[in-house]
C-alpha cells in the first residue's frame, strides 16, 4: 500500500490541477442532465396541459390557463373508479408480493440448498419473460378453467410478476450482510424468531422497502399484463389507454400530476431520512 502511496504522491502537481478544467470532464455531467431533461419532458408537458383551458375533446393546442380541471377532478365517474381500483390493487399487491418476495429473498440469500439453482432460474425466467406472454399465458389458464376475469385476477397477475423483483432486491441486500451479527445474537441466547425480528429484519429493511416501492410503482403503472386479465374492471392505465382513442380528458393530466407529486414526496422523504441517518 505504501509503495502505491509514494507513487501517487510522486505525480506532478500541475497535471492534476489542470484536470478540473479539461473540457472532457464536463461531458459526462452535461450528458447526464440532458438525459434527465429528456426523460422529464413529457411529464412537464403533461403537467402543463393539466392547466389547459381546452374547449374541445383534443388537449393539444394551448388555449389558456385554467384551474377548472383541478376543481372538476372527479367528474368522470369511470375514471375515478379506475383510479380507486389502481390504488387499492397496488396496496394489496404490494403487501402480498413483498411478504412472499422477502421470504424468498431471505431463503436465497442466506442458505445454500438443492433448489437454489432452480429457484434462480424460475425467477430469471419470470423477470425475463415478456409481459405479453406472461399476461397471455395466465389468460389462457383462466379461459381453460372457466375463471371469469376481474379484480382478483388482476391481483393474482400482478403479484405473479412482482415476487421475483422483491426477492432479487432482498437477496442483493442480504449479500452484503455480516453473518457474524446473527451468530452473535444466537451466542447471546436469542432464539431463531427473535434473531429474525430484531437483527435480520431491521438489517434487510432497506432492501424490503426498496422492493415494496418497486412493486408499488410497477403495479400502478402496469398496462399489458393487467389488460389481459382484467375482464371488465378498469384500472387507471387501462382507462387512459381506452381514452386515447377519443381524446384524453385533462383530468387524466391532473391525476398524473398528483401521482408524480406523490413520487416526488416519497423521494424527499427518502432523502431526508438518509440525511438523518448519515448525521
Amino acid at each position: 500500500m505504501t509503495a502505491l502511496d509514494e507513487r501517487v504522491d510522486a505525480q506532478p502537481a500541475p497535471a492534476r490541477r489542470h484536470a478540473r478544467l479539461r473540457p472532457g470532464r464536463w461531458a459526462l455531467p452535461i450528458w447526464g442532465w440532458l438525459v434527465i431533461a429528456w426523460l422529464t419532458s413529457p411529464i412537464i408537458v403533461m403537467i402543463i396541459f393539466g392547466f389547459n383551458d381546452t374547449k374541445s375533446r383534443l388537449n393539444i393546442h394551448w388555449q389558456g390557463f385554467t384551474l377548472r380541471w383541478y376543481r372538476e377532478l372527479f367528474q368522470i365517474p369511470d375514471l375515478t373508479d379506475a383510479l380507486k381500483n389502481s390504488i387499492t390493487i397496488a396496496i394489496i399487491v404490494t403487501v402480498i408480493a413483498t411478504v412472499m418476495g422477502t421470504l424468498m429473498g431471505l431463503g436465497l440469500g442466506k442458505y445454500r440448498f438443492r433448489g437454489l439453482g432452480a429457484t434462480n432460474l424460475l425467477m430469471f425466467a419470470n423477470i425475463a419473460a415478456p409481459e405479453v406472454v406472461l399476461g397471455a399465458a395466465l389468460l389462457s389458464l383462466f379461459i381453460t378453467m372457466g375463471i371469469p376475469r376481474g379484480y382478483w385476477t388482476i391481483v393474482i397477475a400482478q403479484v405473479m410478476f412482482s415476487i421475483a423483483y422483491v426477492a432479487v432486491t432482498v437477496r442483493a441486500r442480504m449479500a452484503g450482510l455480516d453473518p457474524n451479527l446473527e451468530e452473535a445474537a444466537r451466542d447471546l441466547g436469542a432464539g431463531p424468531y427473535a434473531t429474525f425480528f430484531r437483527i435480520t429484519l431491521p438489517m434487510i429493511m432497506p432492501g424490503v422497502m426498496a422492493g415494496a416501492l418497486l412493486v408499488l410503482a410497477l403495479s400502478i403503472d402496469d398496462y399489458i399484463i393487467t389488460s389481459f386479465n382484467a375482464g371488465q374492471v378498469q384500472t387507471f392505465p387501462l382507462w387512459v389507454y381506452g381514452a386515447t382513442r377519443n381524446g384524453v380528458p385533462p383530468q387524466v393530466n391532473v391525476m398524473g400530476t398528483f401521482i408524480f407529486m406523490f413520487g416526488v414526496l416519497l423521494a424527499l422523504v427518502a432523502w431526508a431520512t438518509n440525511r438523518r441517518r448519515a448525521a
Binding site: 501517487v8 422529464t40 408537458v45 393539444i60 412472499m100 440448498f113 406472454v133 397471455a136 389462457s140
Partner: protein, 290 residues
C-alpha cells in the same frame, strides 16, 4: 440440537415455498396451458378442441414473420440506443455522483412513477406534425414541410428507447458503483490514460450490469405493443399488437397462444445464448476475483 439442525436444513425450503407455489401456479402452469392451447383448433362459437394441430405454429410464422422480425429489429435498435445513452449516465452517477447519487437516481426514475401510457401519449402530442418541436424545425427549414415523425418506425423506436432506458441504466449503475475505487486508482497508475483504464478495467467489470440491462431492455422492448399503437403507423405493427388482436378481436386463442409461445421461446433462447457467451467468461473472472 438435532431438531434445530433439521429446522435449519428445512428453513430455506419453507421460506421459498410461498413464492414457489404462486409462481408455479400462475406462471409455470399457465405457460403449459398456453402451449396446450396453441395446438387446438376451433373457434369461439363451436368451442376449441385439442387436436395437436402443430400447423398453428407454421401458419402463424407464415402469416406474421414480418412482424416477428420487425419486433426483434426494433428491440435490438432500442436496446443498442439504451446502452449508448444509458452507459454514460450510469458512469456519471456512479463515479461523479458523490453524495448525491441517490438523489440523481431518483431524478432519473421519477418520471416513471407516471403511467407509461400517459408518458407515451404525451410524446404523441410533443411530436405531432404541427406540435411544439416539429413546427419549430419546419420554420427553421431543418426539415421539409411534409416531414412527420409520428407513424414512422423512428417514433416507435424513440418511444421504446425512452420507456426502457431506466432498465438499462440501473443495472449498469449497480455494477459500476460496486467497483473498488482502489482498483481504478491502481489501473490509472498502471496504464496512465483514462481511456485505457476504461477499456481495460471499467468496461469488462461492468459487463454483468450491461448483460442484465440488455436482458431487461431487449425482451420487453421486442414484445411491446403500446408504443407501436400510440406512436406508430402503417408498417410498424409489432408482434405484440398481433397477439393482442388475435386474443381480443379475433378470439383465435390457438393462433394467439402459438404466437405467444414462439415469441417467448425465441426471446428466451436469444437471452440464454447471450448469457452463455457472456456468462462463462464472467464465471471465470468471478472465480479468479474470489
Amino acid at each position: 440440537m438435532r431438531r434445530a439442525r433439521l429446522g435449519a436444513r428445512l428453513a430455506p425450503y419453507f421460506l421459498v415455498l410461498p413464492g414457489w407455489l404462486w409462481l408455479v401456479l400462475f406462471f409455470v402452469v399457465p405457460t403449459f396451458v398456453m402451449l396446450s392451447m396453441s395446438t387446438q383448433t376451433g373457434d369461439i362459437v363451436a368451442g376449441f378442441k385439442q387436436t395437436f394441430h402443430w400447423q398453428n405454429y407454421s401458419n402463424g410464422w407464415d402469416q406474421y414473420h414480418v412482424q416477428f422480425v420487425r419486433s426483434i429489429i426494433y428491440g435490438l435498435i432500442a436496446t443498442g440506443l439504451c446502452v449508448a445513452i444509458g452507459y454514460p449516465v450510469a458512469c456519471w452517477i456512479a463515479f461523479r455522483g458523490g453524495a448525491h447519487k441517490s438523489s440523481l437516481l431518483f431524478l432519473l426514475l421519477l418520471p416513471f412513477f407516471v403511467s407509461f401510457v400517459i408518458r407515451t401519449q404525451a410524446w404523441s402530442t410533443i411530436l405531432s406534425d404541427d406540435g411544439i418541436v416539429l413546427s419549430r424545425l419546419k420554420d427553421w427549414g431543418i426539415v421539409g414541410a411534409d416531414y412527420h415523425v409520428l407513424a414512422t418506425p423512428t417514433a416507435v423506436i424513440w418511444g421504446l428507447t425512452y420507456n426502457f432506458l431506466p432498465f438499462m441504466v440501473l443495472p449498469i449503475y449497480v455494477a459500476l458503483e460496486r467497483l473498488d475505487p482502489a482498483l481504478l486508482e491502481a489501473s490509472s497508475d498502471l496504464y496512465g490514460s483514462r481511456a485505457a483504464t476504461f477499456m481495460k478495467v471499467v468496461l469488462p467489470l461492468s459487463m454483468p450490469g450491461v448483460f442484465a440491462g440488455v436482458v431487461l431492455t431487449f425482451v420487453p422492448a421486442a414484445a411491446d405493443y403500446v408504443n407501436a399503437f400510440i406512436l406508430g403507423g402503417s408498417h410498424t405493427t409489432m408482434i405484440g399488437n398481433i397477439i393482442q388482436t388475435e386474443y381480443f378481436t379475433n378470439q383465435d386463442y390457438p393462433t394467439a397462444s402459438a404466437l405467444s409461445f414462439l415469441l417467448m421461446v425465441g426471446l428466451l433462447l436469444g437471452v440464454f445464448a447471450y448469457a452463455r457467451a457472456v456468462g462463462t467468461e464472467n464465471a471465470l473472472e468471478m472465480a479468479a476475483a474470489q
